[in-house]
Symmetry: C2
Subunit: 321 residues, 2 copies
C-alpha cells in the first residue's frame, strides 16, 4: 500500500492532530494502548497524540536500554509530568547488553535491539498490560530507507511484509507515517511541546549503539556517551540539523606523557540538512573544532585522535552504521 | 652514547657535507658500501653524500616493496640518473606482502617490514655485493621517538642496543643522525638536489603500510595509493608540512545508486609543522575539502566517507599507526 505523503508546507497541524486523535480513539476503542517514549520528536509527538486521544487508556514507557544519552531518562519523565503524562521507566540495560554481546555487524546489532525491544522487554509489557495496540513514531523517511535497503529501521514492519500482530501479538498504529521530519516538528509544536523537543535533533532508534563501530559493550557506550555530551554541549548553538560523536573500533597511535599510546579515535559529524534526505557537513570554524578536540582528548578516557567528517549525504549517510 | 644535535640554524651545510664525505670515505676505505634510496629527503641526501664520498664504490638500490606511491620507482631512478647516480630497482613486492599477511598490530607490521628489508632482501644484496657498510638516512627525531617508545622506526638499532654487524652482518653509517628534518633539507639543497626533493614532505619508512589500519593486502595498498595520489595532487599548493590519506579498517554505511553500501572510510591528515615534533591540523578551506571529497568518492573504489583529522600532535602523532 502506497503511503500518501503530507509535506510540511501542505500540513495543517491542528487539523492533522484532530484527525489523528479521532483515528487513534476509534481504532483503540475501549481497549488499552501502549507506547514507548524515547524523548525524540517523533515519539514525543506520538505520546502527546495518544494522550489526547486516549487519556489514561494509554500507557507510556521509557525503556532504559543502557544505550541512551547522559541524564535522558530523568529529563524525559520530568518533561512529560508537566503535561500530566505519566511515564514509567523500565530498566532493561542488562538484557540489551547481553543481546549485543559479540555482535559486530551493524544490521545484526539493529536486529538484536529490535528483538530484545519487541519480543522480550516490550512484548512482556504488552502482555502484562493487556494492550492490543502499540503507538509508534515511524515517519516516511524511515520507511523509504528501509524499503530501499539503505538502513534497517527498528520500527518498520508492514512495509517489509511482516505482520506484527502475528509475530509480536499486537497491532501497530503509526500516526506520523505520512510526514517527514519537518512536518513532525510542526505537529509537535502545535501539540504544545517545548522548543527543546520540537526542534530537537534526530537521534537514532538504536541510540548510542549506532555510534559505536564494532561490538557494543558497556565500556564503549560509556566512552561514546561522554563524547556525545561534549559534542552536544559545544555544538548546541551551531544551528546545525544534527551533530554526533562516533567511537571507532580502529585504534591509532598517539602520544601521552611522552610515551606511545595506542588509543581511541572519535569521529565528529555535524550536518546541515532540511529533512535528512540530503545533507552536507556544517562548515564549523576551526576555532570551534579546536575547542571540541581539546575537550575530547582531556575528558573522554583513552581518546588520542579526533576527526571531522567532511562527506555529503549521499554517498555518506547521517549515522555511521 | 649521547648524540650531539646540530640545529638547522647552527648548521653550515657546505662544511657539514665536506666533513661527512671525509668521514664516510675514511670509514669505508677500500671497501664497498651500499644504500637503499627511497626518494625521501633523508635517503636522497645520504645517496648524494655517499656518491660524493665513494663514487662507484657506493651501490644504490631502490627496493620496490610494493608499498610505494604511484610512479615512485621510475621518477626516482630518472632523477638520480641526472646526477650520474645509477639506481637499481629491486622488485620485492611479493616478499613484503607475504611477510605482512595476517598481521594487524602496527608494531608487528613495522617489524615484518624491517625483517624482510634487512634480513631477506637487503641482507641478500649486501652478501652478494661484498659490501660491509650500509649508509642510512636516520635523523635525530627517529632516534628520539624510538627511544621514547612512541614509534619503532625501521632504522634505529644502536640506540636500542642492537648491533647490526652481529645481527645482520654489516655496519651502519648514519651521517644525518645529528640533524632534524629542517637541517636535512638545507643539506639536501646544498648537495644540489631539486626543490621537489629538498622540500619534499616526509614519507614513512614502512611507506603506504603506515597508511592502512589493520591487515595490509595488495588490494588495500592499491586503494590507499589512489587516495594518496588524490591528496598529494590537491594539497600540493597548500604549503603544509605533510598531508596524507589513511585507509580505515572500520566500515561505515553509505548510499550508492539509492542502495545501502557498507563501504570504506578515508581519513585525510594535513599538518602544519616546523620539525615534526609538534604539529597542528592545517586550516584548509571547506571548498578545498569539498573538492578532495568529491574526488575521493568518485576515484577511489569503495569509498563512501571521508574525514579530516583535527587533532594536534601531541596527543596525536603525524602518522596514524
Amino acid at each position: 500500500m502506497e503511503i500518501q505523503e503530507i509535506t510540511a508546507s501542505g500540513l495543517k497541524p491542528q487539523e492533522f492532530i484532530q484527525e489523528k486523535a479521532r483515528e487513534i480513539a476509534a481504532t483503540v476503542g475501549d481497549g488499552v494502548a501502549i507506547n514507548a517514549l524515547s524523548g525524540g520528536v517523533d515519539s514525543s509527538a506520538v505520546t502527546m497524540l495518544g494522550h489526547k486521544a486516549l487519556g489514561s487508556k494509554l500507557k507510556t514507557y521509557f525503556i532504559n536500554n543502557g544505550l541512551m544519552r547522559k541524564d535522558e531518562p530523568e529529563q524525559i519523565v520530568s518533561l512529560f509530568a508537566k503535561f500530566g503524562v505519566k511515564v514509567e521507566i523500565v530498566e532493561a540495560q542488562e538484557k540489551f547488553f547481553q543481546a549485543l554481546k559479540g555482535i559486530t555487524d551493524p544490521e545484526e546489532k539493529r536486529e538484536a535491539i529490535t528483538q530484545t525491544f519487541y519480543k522480550d522487554v516490550f512484548g512482556k509489557l504488552v502482555r502484562e498490560s493487556g494492550a492490543k495496540y502499540l503507538l509508534q513514531g515511524t515517519i516516511l523517511t524511515d520507511v523509504d530507507e528501509t524499503v530501499a535497503g539503505i538502513k534497517r529501521q527498528h520500527n518498520v514492519f508492514a512495509q517489509l511484509g511482516i505482520d506484527p500482530q502475528e509475530v509480536f501479538g499486537y497491532k501497530i498504529i503509526e500516526p506520523l507515517v505520512q510526514l517527514r521530519k519537518d512536518g513532525v516538528r510542526r505537529v509537535a509544536e502545535a501539540l504544545g511541546l517545548p522548543k527543546s523537543t520540537f526542534n530537537r535533533m534526530p537521534f537514532p532508534g538504536p541510540a548510542l549503539c549506532a555510534r559505536v563501530i564494532g561490538e557494543v559493550t558497556p565500556e564503549k557506550i560509556n566512552t561514546v556517551r561522554i563524547a556525545t555530551a561534549v559534542v552536544e554541549e559545544e555544538l548546541a548553538s551551531s544551528g546545525a540539523f544534527q551533530y554526533m560523536a562516533i567511537l571507532h573500533q580502529d585504534r591509532v597511535t598517539g602520544i601521552r606523557d611522552g610515551k606511545r599510546d595506542f588509543g581511541l579515535q572519535i569521529e565528529i559529524r555535524c550536518w546541515d540538512s532540511i529533512d535528512a534526505r540530503n545533507a552536507g557537513p556544517t562548515r564549523l570554524a576551526y576555532e570551534q573544532l579546536d575547542k571540541l578536540v581539546k575537550r575530547m582528548v582531556t575528558e573522554v578516557p583513552g581518546v588520542v585522535s579526533v576527526t571531522y567528517n567532511i562527506t555529503a549525504k549521499p554517498p555518506s549517510t547521517m549515522e555511521a552504521i
